[in-house]
Amino acid sequence: MVSFTPDAYEEIIEHAREGKPYEICGVLGGRRDGDEARVEFVRRVENVSETPRVNYLMEPEDQLAAIDDVEERGDVVGFYHSHPEGPRQPSETDADRANWPRHSYVIVSLGRDEPFVGSWRWTGEAFDDEEVVVDSD
């Protein structure tokens, strides 16, 4: 399970909306303890993909700086990106390029309905769906 503070949850949705029609991305910071993770803050990272409507590639120096920022305050819980027109699930490209085992890959899907936030942990071989909750505090 991955839980979000309300501010962190709203931040990734707002980031996705601002970026539409392009994919946006960032680093999730907080605490991880085994299968349980809590996202307490997020750090936006520039998407430098040449096809940003359908792909994301974190700008390397910005990603490095973001990880440094996050590690000063806690753990790298994982990464987030958006699917401006869906789908809710990770794409084949997401699976092909995933290379942070034991970390959460969160997708903000906009599509036509209300934003959907899903999370999958990369095992090193596949994505495992994990529950997403928003803390009440």
Partner: protein, 89 residues
């Protein structure tokens, strides 16, 4: 000696690691790391003698692709940092 700094995802011990190794280039340092700790890091980071596409290697914060790649010179006090890129569709 240079220092190799890697995140937990690249460490066979499951924890992040910051260790000093021998070597006067990035390639030599990775080889030295492999001799000490096993081949997992090298297998994850290098392919055909180059840094793999979705892996980023920095020396003192500068991307080695903008310097001399795996032949980038390193020395005492230099930090080699290896970070998997985050990307997808």
């Amino acid at each position: 000696m240079p220092t190799v700094r890697i995140p937990a995802v690249l460490s066979e011990t499951g924890g992040s690691r910051n260790v000093e190794v021998d070597g006067d280039t990035v390639l030599a340092a990775v080889h030295a790391y492999t001799e000490e700790y096993g081949s997992e890091l090298e297998d994850n980071v290098l392919g055909n003698g180059e840094v793999k596409e979705y892996i980023n290697v920095y020396v003192n914060g500068k991307d080695v692709r903008d310097i001399d790649g795996v032949d980038t010179q390193v020395g005492d006090g230099d930090e080699i940092r290896i970070i998997p890129a985050a990307s997808g569709g």
